[in-house]
């Protein structure tokens, strides 16, 4: 299945890009997407377990992914 990973702020800066398309096996979870991401870009600014969101909602590493999902890794937020 295909998922679209989005990066922001310091994570995007370190990776040099803000979007990555990943091809993942069925049954893949957010943690698997993170692992795949690390092999594709410089993810040195990402901590071991960054905040993640799937389809605009926060999700944990064990959250299951589906084809077409949008996964985001979210640096510490600073709004308001």
């Amino acid at each position: 299945m295909r998922v679209r990973v989005r990066l922001f702020a310091s994570y995007a800066e370190a990776a040099g890009r803000s979007e990555v398309e990943l091809e993942l096996p069925e049954g893949a979870r957010v943690a698997d997407a993170l692992r795949a991401l690390r092999s594709r870009v410089d993810a040195s600014r990402l901590p071991p377990s960054p905040l993640a969101a799937v389809n605009l909602r926060y999700a944990k590493g064990e959250a299951l992914l589906a084809d077409g999902d949008e996964v985001a890794f979210i640096p510490p937020v600073a709004g308001g």
Binding site: F8, A9, V77, A78, G79
Partner: protein, 139 residues
């Protein structure tokens, strides 16, 4: 179309007008403004960026949660993105309720939740010309 995010300077009076209602005896306005001075130098301003679609979704959820907890609450808010010079507002929240205890509580809840969970980031530019990402502890 963006509902809670804008590139434009904020208009607090307009937000207050949006929540005003004959049944509401209390209206509270919160303004988050970019401070001029930090511990290590003057700030020229802040560049705000966001995961737009999720920020809109989280802001909408926060408003709905507040309306669920404080019945009768009327809430309008805007968060500004892009370059915000020191001294200008980056966030404005207007809350109107029948009575003031709820208005204060709902307003506090909304800003605290925005700071806790909305995917918005700040890049500070100092007078020296240097810039840096702001960590939440100092937000």
């Amino acid at each position: 179309m963006a509902r809670y995010l804008t590139d434009e300077p904020l208009d607090p009076a307009r937000l207050l007008a949006q929540v005003a209602s004959p049944g509401c005896g209390a209206a509270v306005l919160f303004l988050g403004t970019v401070r001029r001075s930090a511990e290590d130098g003057d700030i020229e301003g802040i560049d705000y960026s966001a995961y737009h679609e999720m920020a809109e979704a989280e802001l909408s959820r926060i408003v709905e949660e507040a309306r669920g907890r404080w019945s009768g609450a009327r809430i309008a808010l805007l968060h500004r993105l892009g370059w915000v010079p020191a001294g200008e507002a980056s966030a404005a929240i207007a809350v109107a309720c029948p009575h003031r205890a709820d208005a204060y509580a709902a307003s506090r809840f909304v800003i605290d939740e925005i700071k806790r969970r909305v995917p918005i980031w700040k890049r500070e530019r100092l007078g020296s010309g240097a810039s840096r990402w702001v960590e939440p502890a100092h937000a």
